[in-house]
Symmetry: C2
Amino acid sequence: MRESEIISLFFRHLQKQGDLPLGDDAGAIRLDDEWLVATNDMLVRKTDVPDIMTPEQVGFKAVTMNVSDVAAMGARPVGFLFSLGIPDDLGAGYLEGVAKGIGKALDFYGVPVLSADTNEADDLIIDGIALGTTKKPLTRSGAKPGEIICATGDLGRALAGLLAWRKGLEISPSLRRALYEKFLEPKARVREGMALNGIASAAIDISDGLSKELHILSKMSNVGIEIYPNRLPIREEVFYVAKELGEDPVMLALASGEEFELVFTLPEGFSEIPDFNCTPIGRTLKGGGVYITTEEKREEMPLLGWEHLASHL
Amino acid sequence: MRESEIISLFFRHLQKQGDLPLGDDAGAIRLDDEWLVATNDMLVRKTDVPDIMTPEQVGFKAVTMNVSDVAAMGARPVGFLFSLGIPDDLGAGYLEGVAKGIGKALDFYGVPVLSADTNEADDLIIDGIALGTTKKPLTRSGAKPGEIICATGDLGRALAGLLAWRKGLEISPSLRRALYEKFLEPKARVREGMALNGIASAAIDISDGLSKELHILSKMSNVGIEIYPNRLPIREEVFYVAKELGEDPVMLALASGEEFELVFTLPEGFSEIPDFNCTPIGRTLKGGGVYITTEEKREEMPLLGWEHLASHL
């Protein structure tokens, strides 16, 4: 079964949901005078962990991927939990690396661990759970037509790094460092997410690639989206890899998953400009659809990205 | 590595913890004017699911085992999350059963689902996460010497049911029903946990067997414990199985895991008697140690129960 089929199977049986409709970066419930957001994301070594990743990077990423969803809700991360599935033959050194990575990430994000569980399993599995609080969640559904779409940071290095490694591309150490920093050690945009709460009308984090996130944003906010490809914040390292591999750098930026950048919309007449590194990449439109617009033409944006249950690349 | 070694390895690297010391049924952080408790427990089919269990029972149990930890903290369960690892060859029918069981449990406990994640894995894995809120958490560390120790419900049917099934014991349908109800469809004591908050001085739920939980309670509250074996609420069905197998029914009751009953301590001079089915089974003492006391003698209670990473039985 495909992931989407599994999800719809489950939601036929789960009537009682939180105080936000499901489909956002995290679920949410209203407490006394704030909201609690909660999200979980399971990392399975066989499908989610490239061999090149150190155990410390694996542990760090298990935290980042969850904290990023809390950030996309404009919430402050307040707690982390994790469950481990540990195969018999996993060495103590590997496990220690994972522990170190989780600890480093929790220090980095300033988040306490609330609970942990260990089990025997056939493959290394880390299920991470992040909790956050906010006065009002920033959702995927608040964008209106005529707004500016922005992205934090830059796009494409995660996929370019993966491809450079997979294809054994010969690249300089500094180029490799720039790519691998994002491919192997991505960071969640926590400060940015909290700063966007109250400024942005909608936000989503890039887990499955910009293209896929834009399609979700469009559908959930019920707006069209057009992106100006020459505005995308693509670093020269991505152009280099694209050229070497005969790929389109824009397509790399659109397909690159696990970037953990935030994509957000700024309402018309917004007065505060976010005080962090971000780039306007397009705008929202009346109607629906996601488009790539250049001076010459407007084309539908292909739905790139990966589903976890499909094989990557 | 044993589970305890893995846990200590991790906690060397995880400095920042919640607002309660780790080691309770759930972790906790203080929010504005209440506490959030959070707990997670991963179910791995190979080690945690007897073949006789239906997929619906598996789904129900994945909720119960987490909600039970929230109940043991005296908190109201307010949200559930789950991550699934799904093997390729798992049929849609099995998965639908799991979904139905999770849905049924969430209805039963009145808890909304906040977030879910699905992944491909080598074995069926359900990582459940439960969140709860309370004005003040009920912990494992609040018992004082001279208090009465009580248990909800009855003890031993879960293990007696497992043994009856494993050993192929010939038993009557009504006996089987009584045992399997607890062995395959245990329920968390949510109402009882909330009622105990403000009455009990300490509480713990029975996941790994009464004996193991009493040893934890003793250590965390820094009290001795003596249990009167003839006071243990053991139903006749457990006596029957024990006799057939040449086992001591008291040992079955002490070792029986996943009972999800609550064990709690009532302070001296408590005025309110809980208005639910519970039984005084012993008392707390000065000093340490866990004992079984009869009119004839006082013996140290063996540390029975199972560690998840060891093989059951």
